[in-house]
Symmetry: C2
Subunit: 223 residues, 2 copies
């Protein structure tokens, strides 16, 4: 039998991506531009959470948004209609954005003139967790209707995040979502994570989301 040579494509691609993400992060530090990578399943409320942030802190920070989507431009149009600089990355079927795509988005935004850029990643709890985007902080949204078992099914996503936003808490009363069990599952994967409860619909918890952003941006700018 001939010896088989094995080539592990994914490991090489991830190594290349990690190097590109490190270059992006170094440039963001030089420019004092805070980049937040926001991830979730489709429909969990990424665009709503971003537009809530825009309304809360747009007078305090120069903001931009990178929207990543497989095909449509709906989300970037919502952001641009608020008068905020927006870039749309159409991934054309790819299930995540990688660091080089994000760097292109930052360049198109002229991010060195901005204090805060929020990246709305592709709606997916698997692949985006594997690809470092170069962001300063990673956040994810888990909406109540998705269920409290998601940390068990997507542990990597919960492990890489600095912030978990529980959205649609207005559904808690009519749902069997066990908020305490969910929190324990998240913390057992990632003891340093912050968990915030919000409803983008009612506005509950939105001031705490804005405060988290303010505090992270200010710490980043001085550090």
């Amino acid at each position: 039998m001939e010896e088989i040579r094995l080539i592990e494509v994914k490991e090489e691609i991830l190594a290349d991506n990690d190097a590109a993400a490190t270059r992006t992060r170094e440039k963001l530090k030089r420019d004092k531009t805070f980049l937040l990578n926001l991830m979730s399943s489709p429909g969990a409320g990424k665009t709503s959470l971003i537009t809530r942030a825009i309304k809360e802190i747009r007078n305090e920070f120069r903001m931009g948004v990178i929207e990543a989507d497989i095909e449509s431009m709906v989300d970037s149009e919502k952001v641009a209609s608020l008068g905020i600089r927006a870039v749309q990355i159409k991934t054309g079927g790819f299930c995540h954005v990688d660091a080089s795509m994000v760097q292109k988005g930052l360049d198109a935004l002229e991010s060195d003139t901005l204090d805060l850029v929020i990246l709305e990643n592709v709606g997916n709890l698997v692949c985006p967790a594997e690809f470092d985007t170069g962001a300063i902080r990673n956040a994810m949204i888990l909406s109540v209707p998705e269920g409290d078992d998601k940390p068990l099914k997507y542990p990597l996503m919960f492990s890489v995040c600095d912030l978990v936003v529980v959205n649609k808490i207005d559904f808690l009363e009519v749902s069997d979502f066990d908020r305490k069990a969910f929190g324990n599952r998240v913390l057992s994967l990632n003891s340093g994570v912050r968990i915030l409860d919000v409803s983008c619909k009612t506005g509950e918890g939105i001031p705490a989301w804005a405060d988290w952003l303010r505090e992270e941006i200010r710490q980043f700018a001085v550090g």
Copy 2:
């Protein structure tokens, strides 16, 4: 409303891939190494068609095989057990191989010492058709149980191939597969394509498959 800058990731990735594929093809021409890219759905018979080719023409040409698979090494082990040089590309979830991955496989095979390399692409009728691998010729297998309507559903795949192999023709009698309608659908997409009917199980049509390979390799070597 702010103007939205649009970044089309897929077009840029495909343009980069096309450039890499062109470099691979130029090197193959200098080395006189014929690379065949073999595509199909999972289970259509790629590995069987390759092992049939090995048995028919291994004494005439120096051969190697690149096996691309999401996780397993089963196919490359089958090839290596016949004493043929094999490289396994594990894509780790990616749905196709691109030109740079194939070039790594060719390097690992030391393809400049070979007359023929067959690339078994990932089992998928969509993505592999979009990514030029750098191959000299593209072939696909459509097995009878998949149905005669596949050219309507996957037109790009049928359009990019030089050869369509209809495998498992031993099922024709017990199936409602309309071979004539299938042929017309393929030719209406791609009038220059060659269609061969085979059964890897019974061996019917295998000599014509071997003859197609012989003729293509010889024309390439003199041209």
